[in-house]
């Protein structure tokens, strides 16, 4: 891994950890408790940032995949697969923290309402991204198929965001990203923004390390292929 990637990843990681510690202090000692839902509403400060990072990661996957199909630059595919892995992780966090909140707020772990169902669909689409990638004997073909899945999968993101506006839904409507501006308490909004910053920094740190790993894995694969293609010296055992 190049020292540039390693250092940038480490700096972002340290900043991410520091911001996360500030976030935890804000969540547990500073932010006021929501009147109706009580303490469980504090899941919001990890649930929403995780969703934000997941959507951003799948956005990166879609953009990198589209440009990869156009330019055939391997680095774009490496960036796409690295972002997809992070996106899967953060979508898993969203899908696990949401029901814990829903159990107390709604009285049920899960309901097949539009936003939850579309988020679960997103998780399965990106699971498919990895399955398609690994399913062909020809790696280049697998990468192209996965790129198409990555682009199509990102179309689910605006649907998830708008589902609470378009359909009658149990999931609350957006409280920050809405035309008339955020309707949150200023302290809650500040905590949410710190959460968004922390999760973004943590994601980009691990994304860089994952990208470095992908580059090294590809370098190793090329070296092994070159070694297999090289003519064997005479008299060498088969």
């Amino acid at each position: 891994m190049s020292s540039k990637i390693r250092w940038t990843g480490a700096v972002l990681g340290v900043l991410g950890i520091a911001t996360t510690l500030v976030l935890l202090w804000m969540v547990f000692f500073w932010v006021p408790t929501e009147r109706t839902m009580g303490v469980v509403q504090r899941i919001f400060y990890i649930h929403v940032p995780a969703a934000w990072v997941a959507f951003m990661a799948f956005g990166i996957v879609a953009i990198c995949s589209a440009v990869y199909l156009w330019l055939k630059d391997e680095r774009l595919d490496m960036a796409a697969v690295s972002a997809a892995e992070g996106g899967m992780l953060f979508t898993t966090i969203v899908l696990l923290t949401g029901p814990l909140w829903g159990r107390v707020a709604w009285g049920t772990w899960w309901t097949w309402e539009p936003r939850l169902t579309l988020t679960l669909l997103l998780w399965f689409i990106y699971l498919g991204y990895f399955l398609v990638r690994a399913s062909t004997d020809n790696p280049q073909r697998g990468k192209r198929f996965a790129a198409v899945v990555g682009i199509v999968g990102a179309l689910d993101i605006p649907l998830i965001h708008l589902s609470v506006v378009w359909f009658r839904s149990l999931h609350p409507a957006p409280v920050v990203m809405k035309p008339e501006g955020p309707s949150l308490d200023p302290a809650m909004l500040a905590t949410l923004f710190v959460g968004l910053g922390a999760s973004t920094l943590v994601f980009f740190s691990f994304f860089l390390f994952r990208y470095g790993l992908e580059r090294m894995t590809q370098a190793l694969a090329h070296r092994e292929m070159a070694a297999q293609a090289a003519p064997r010296p005479e008299g060498a055992a088969s």
């Binding site: 891994m1 408790t33 839902m37 009580g38 303490v39 469980v40 504090r42 899941i43 990890i46 649930h47 995780a50 892995e85 992070g86 992780l89 898993t92 966090i93 696990l96 923290t97 814990l100 909140w101 159990r103 107390v104 707020a105 943590v202 691990f206 390390f209 994952r210 470095g212 790993l213 090294m216 894995t217 370098a219 190793l220 070296r223």
Partner: protein
């Protein structure tokens, strides 16, 4: 003191110190406030624990894979 007496004392102490016993001795307001505002405390801690466990798991996974590939490249 025999074992039965110790058990009785421990159980009696636990019953006297339990929140239900406290509320019946004039602590009803505190318990009501806790019931209202601290609802779902366990769920919140589990949510944060799961998120942290997954992120740490991903870090360990990347570190292990990096170590394996670096070793293979050096050989």
């Amino acid at each position: 003191m025999n074992t039965r007496a110790i058990t009785f004392l421990v159980v009696a102490a636990l019953v006297l110190l339990s929140p239900e016993m406290g509320s019946s001795q004039g602590m009803a307001d505190a318990s009501a406030i806790a019931g209202q505002n601290l609802r779902g405390y366990t769920h919140m801690f589990i949510a944060y624990a799961i998120a942290w466990a997954l992120v740490v798991g991903w870090v360990i996974s990347i570190a292990r894979r990096l170590g394996r590939v670096e070793k293979a490249l050096k050989e």
